[in-house]
């Protein structure tokens, strides 16, 4: 089977991290985002993946070649010279997708969940329609586009963007499977799949919704990245508790790369991810954070709800909170307070940031 991943462009919402790496290569819970999706696709029998990008990246190409070997997948890049929206990339990759003459998956690159690709393929074959999409239940559907479908068959009746009264609590989770016939509907121009393609398909009764079990998150921005991390770690606790870290000073769900070092008298967790080669010195308290590869957190500091970028150095007695994000190679001097600071790469922070702001 084949799959198309809508990678898109610069990943601006996940800056400053995406100033140093393409978004698919940012590690989520110690594994590149793309890899979470590729591994799940591979498991469901996919052998060929197309990445739809609007920005070419050598780093992405190199990473792809490496994963091809490792996973036994063929990966191609489909490069949009102008932004084609959410449907246009399918037209661009038309030949690759149609070649298999069987249904193909399409997914947003920002989505993290317990990927139900095998179940989705079965569901799709059963109803025989042209397209199936995964929906997930949320508490506040009015923030999203809502899907209204028949309870027994899952046939989609209509979509409602940001409804003002309660219509349904299921939203489009950004995972699809389509039969090749859908490609007749899509032209090579900027097109929105939600606004232009799906409504027509729903009217014709060709579109079905499958409800997702388990957690779901769009991790395209730092706040949601951290929330998604908490959900992922919780699922990991249920399915593979042996992968989580335990020991003195570890609280709740904590994932630590084997090459990381944690000092004495620390309290780490709940909901912390520590990347490869990270050094956490003595007396550090970390809660609800992602610490990326090569970073160093010096002694007696206190971090909550932060993302510490690759190779950062956080000084002694530093306090960071409220979705502070440090880009790559940021140095934070001793004894500072960062509250909601968004810091661009290679910056030295010498003064406290008591109120949320961007540091260029």
């Amino acid at each position: 089977m084949r799959a198309l991943i809508l990678v898109g462009g610069f990943g601006t919402r996940l800056r400053p991290l995406t100033l140093s790496r393409p978004k698919p290569l940012v590690e989520f819970c110690n594994k590149a985002l793309l890899l979470h999706q590729l591994e799940a696709l591979r498991q469901a029998g996919v052998s060929r993946v197309v990445l739809a990008v609007s920005y070419m990246s050598e780093a992405l190409e190199a990473a792809m070649r490496e994963q091809e070997q490792r996973l036994g997948l063929r990966i191609s890049l489909s490069h949009e010279k102008e932004p084609l929206g959410t449907a246009g990339p399918l037209a661009l990759a038309r030949e690759l997708l149609a070649e298999g003459e069987e249904p193909f998956f399409v997914l947003n690159s920002d989505v993290i969940c317990e990927f139900p690709f095998a179940a989705l393929a079965r569901f799709h074959r059963q109803h025989g329609g042209e397209g199936s999409l995964v929906v997930t239940r949320v508490e506040e559907p009015a923030k999203y586009g809502v899907v209204v479908s028949e309870a027994d068959t899952g046939r989609i009746l209509r979509f409602v963007e940001k409804p003002r009264v309660f219509v349904s609590n299921k939203i489009n989770a950004g995972l699809y499977i389509f039969s090749p016939g859908i490609l007749r509907r899509i032209q090579l121009r900027p097109t929105s799949i939600e606004k232009e393609i799906f409504p027509a398909m729903a009217q014709e009764g060709q579109l079905y919704a499958m409800e997702l079990q388990g957690f779901w998150m769009d991790i395209g921005q730092p706040k949601d990245f951290l929330t998604g991390m908490c959900m992922y770690l919780q699922a990991l606790r249920a399915q593979h508790p042996e992968k989580l870290h335990s020991g003195p000073g570890v609280v709740g769900n904590v994932l630590v790369d084997p090459s990381a070092k944690i000092g004495a008298n620390c309290v780490i967790g709940p909901n912390v991810t520590i990347g490869a080669g990270v050094v956490v010195e003595d007396g550090v308290r970390i809660k609800r954070c992602t610490v990326l590869e090569g970073a160093r957190i010096r002694s007696h500091s206190w971090l909550e709800s932060c993302i510490v970028g690759w190779s950062c150095s956080v000084g002694q007695w530093v306090r960071m909170e409220n979705v502070t994000v440090l880009g790559e190679d940021v140095i934070v001097n001793d004894e500072l307070y960062l509250n909601g600071a968004n810091v661009l790469p290679h910056k030295s922070i010498t003064e406290s940031v008591p109120e949320p702001r961007i540091i260029m």
Binding site: N265, W317, Y337
Partner: protein, 428 residues
Amino acid sequence: MPLKAVILIGGPQKGTRFRPLSFEVPKPLFPVAGVPMVQHHIEACARVPGMKEILLLGFYQPHEALSRFLVAAQQEFKIPIRYLQEYAALGTAGGIYHFRDQILSGGAEAFFVLNADVCSEFPLQEMLEFGQRHGAAHSFVILGTTANRTQALNYGCIVANADTQEVQHYVEKPSTFVSEVINCGVYLFTPAIFQHIGEVFQRQQQELALCPYLGEESSNGWQRAEVIRLEQDVFTALAGRGKLYVYKTDGFWSQIKSAGSAIYASRLYLNQYSKTHPERLAQNKPGGPIIRGNVYIHPTASIDSTAVLGPNVSIGEGVTVGAGVRVRESIVLHGAALHDHTCVLNTIVGWDSTIGRWARVEGTPSDPNPNDPYAKIDSESLFRDGRLTPSITILGCSVTIPAEVVILNSIVLPHKELSRSCKNQIIL
């Protein structure tokens, strides 16, 4: 020559900007660089040869802390020290006038008057020698220092003759620029001063007698004739009459009006300790905490060896400081406990308060501009544009700060137990 010294310590209605710290202890007893504010004055006075007695003058009710302090000070400095209580707030001249007999008893030929709420090198011997060189036998000396043009307006301004140093003009807190030389609140008087104060008293009595029901219109706005201020009522009148002189000093000087200025004054005195009291400065020792810059640690305090203290830190009696604690530019009052990994910056931690693990307690310093040698500490108002001005964080006595929170630019009143972070707030 037999000398006396009078230290004006004010009373509860004065020094309200020092709240909530002044709820527990009278402001003159608040520890600055490890010892009560007024002890620095007493030390300076006791050093002057010929000093016969030191009198503390104020309108505080008899207070246990004050009595204990006086007993201890007498024993340490081996000189009589007494507290004279005014029956009402009589002003900076009214008090000494009321007690003139006590001050002059024993044949004092001259006496110093010092305001308790200033911090200074107190060049008293130099003032004495200056007074003997300049002017007639019965002249008076004001200690002056230089401020910058803008800040001078907040103080008493002195215009002096460049050669003779005679004060030609004196104005208290003018609204337009008069002079950069300001009044430090330290004076040297001879008994003749009482004649001049007496004249003001007479005049005020006459005014009151003339219009007893229009008390607000009298010159000092009070119903009492005995309320007399040295600055507005005496110096202004004495200027230009060949009786008043100014001795200018370049030594350190600051007012201590607010908590922020207590930390600044601590720094000035701690610097001075390297010359005057090196034994009061903590040293780096194996097994002891890491000391940076000037730090005072009371002998009964218990400090973990991994703590890092200073510069400008005073640790009071019986304080405990846990592992990995960082304290900088702060005063920690007696009995307080700082648990592991806390970070305390620009803060006054009140008596018996507790700060939980990994908490961050931080204030904003209001130091004078370091690039201007004549800049003085600002006495900022508490609020600006309806918001609390960032300033030193103050924890009142017996405040409990839970673990892992941040307390920033806030004032917490005594006996409060916080449950979460707070910033830019006053917690009642």
